[in-house]
């Protein structure tokens, strides 16, 4: 996840998308129960850290550990995973579109 943080913060185009978009995003593994909290603010991915699976957040993303790994390393397209039900996203439609946009800019 730390590599993902660096990848996001190195990309000036992603920075354009997340400018003014201050959100907390909880990433949950459905099979292992692991959870990570991503904090976005000041046009950056400010922090990534382990969290409780019920930690308060603006957006919640749930999938199996393997799916999450493939998604965050760019080996699988998040939009396709979402459409096939492999990833569940709970948040406003606009927030979901932001996540789609970030994934598109990072991995095409």
């Amino acid at each position: 996840m730390e590599a993902f943080r660096e990848l996001v913060n190195r990309n000036p185009l992603v920075s354009k998308i997340i400018k003014g978009w201050d959100r907390s995003i909880l990433i949950q593994s459905k099979d292992t129960g692991e959870a990570y909290l991503l904090i976005v603010g000041q046009g950056k991915l400010l922090s990534v850290g382990r969290a409780q699976s019920d930690a308060p957040c603006d957006i919640r993303v749930r999938a199996s550990k393997d799916t999450l790994h493939r998604m965050f390393t760019g080996r699988a397209k998040s939009a396709e995973l979402y459409l096939h039900g492999a990833v569940e996203v709970y948040g406003s439609p606009k927030d979901q579109l932001k996540l789609d946009g970030i994934a598109t800019l990072l991995w095409g």
Partner: protein
């Protein structure tokens, strides 16, 4: 007071006003629950909320009493803008809006004498386009007094839009009379014609833009002397959405405000889906590009080109907030109803204020 302050754009205005001033802000909205929720997010006595129905003149007047300025973000503007300005004139409160409909702009400008008699200043169209586009156009003409023509282009992403008002605006302007300014005269052009490839800052890049009805060609020639040509083209992303709009117009689905209301509700719910049309879908960013040129025809030469890409909420809300704070600070040619290029004296300072908020203006290659 920010009317429509709980909406997508209104929230952008409120946020910037809160972060960059010590003013007390009232979020007034028809959706009182949402207004209360948005206000509570600030946990500050400086931000409160009120219910407003701008169709109720008496209630709007009562609410505006005691305010220093009203910022109107309540669309669609072709239906509502004149009602809020009318209330502001009656109370004697300065006014600013983000109106982007050309017919509504004409109607607001026609209230100039009433505004002058009431002793108020009303700045109309101070968002992204019009708004930032007008400031960029004025800046270009100030720096290049020989500029004779302006090409204005905007790009709006369906992945970057939220409210029904923006959908209604788009449906309205692709079937309404559309104006350009050619050779010192206003001429009507057909919406969604006159396509041109335009390069916006990355990640948007090259897009095909079309004539759409917007206020800039109507207002810029009145205030920027020497400018004899103004064209405005816009494009929605993903590009497939433009074809959909053209189809709705051909089918007669959007030729009355009532039909637009019905279709807009359907489309609003479909925005996430529409944003995924085509090969790549849409990035949640919008933008504007203004080119100033000299000459005409084959002798046409672009001498300056300024552009900006950011989220729709920021690129609209922040210029509106900067305009509001400038209005409060008397950095405005006072009195009457004015578009941004007529209202704001100091475009450099305006752009500096945007830069301080990380709204980046890029100089494009001609």
């Amino acid at each position: 007071m920010v009317i429509g302050g709980a909406g997508d754009i209104g929230q952008g205005v409120v946020r910037d006003l809160f972060e960059n001033s010590q003013n007390t802000i009232i979020i007034a909205d028809y959706n009182a629950e949402k207004a209360k929720r948005v206000a509570s997010n600030y946990s500050s006595s400086r931000v409160t909320s009120e219910f407003v129905d701008v169709n109720d003149l008496g209630q709007t007047i009562d609410l505006l009493g005691g305010c220093d300025v009203v910022v109107n973000c309540s669309g669609p503007f072709y239906k509502l803008a004149h009602k809020v300005l009318n209330a502001a004139i009656r109370v004697g409160v300065d006014y600013l809006d983000v109106c982007d409909d050309p017919d509504a702009t004409e109607r607001l400008l026609s209230m100039d004498r009433m505004a002058r008699e009431a002793g108020i200043t009303a700045v109309v169209g101070m968002g992204w386009t019009p708004g930032l586009s007008n400031i960029l156009a004025k800046r270009i003409v100030e720096e290049h007094p020989d500029v004779s023509g302006l090409d204005i282009h905007w790009v709006g992403s369906t992945a970057d839009a939220e409210g029904a008002a923006v959908v209604k605006h788009v449906l309205h302007v692709i079937q309404s009379p559309c104006w350009a300014y050619h050779g010192g005269e206003w001429v009507e052009v057909a919406p969604l014609t006159g396509h041109r490839e335009v390069v916006f800052p990355e990640p948007i890049g090259k897009q095909r833009a079309y004539y759409v009805g917007h206020p800039e060609p109507l207002t810029l020639p009145r205030f920027l002397k020497g400018v004899r040509d103004v064209d405005l083209r816009g494009v929605l992303l993903p590009p497939e959405v433009n074809s959909l709009g053209e189809l709705f117009a051909k089918l007669g689905f959007i030729d009355t405000p009532e039909k637009i209301d019905v279709l807009a509700e359907v489309l609003r719910a479909s925005l996430p889906l529409l944003s995924k049309l085509g090969e790549k879908g849409a990035i949640p960013l919008s933008g504007v590009r203004v080119d100033g040129y000299v000459g005409e025809g084959v002798g046409k030469r672009v001498v300056a080109s300024l552009a900006c890409v950011d989220s729709m909420q920021r690129i609209t809300g922040i210029p509106a907030s900067v305009g509001t704070l400038t209005l409060l600070g008397s950095g405005v040619h006072e009195g009457g109803v004015l578009p941004p290029e007529g209202a704001f004296r100091d475009t450099k300072r305006f752009l500096d204020e945007l830069a301080m908020r990380d709204v980046q203006i890029e100089v494009m290659a001609g």
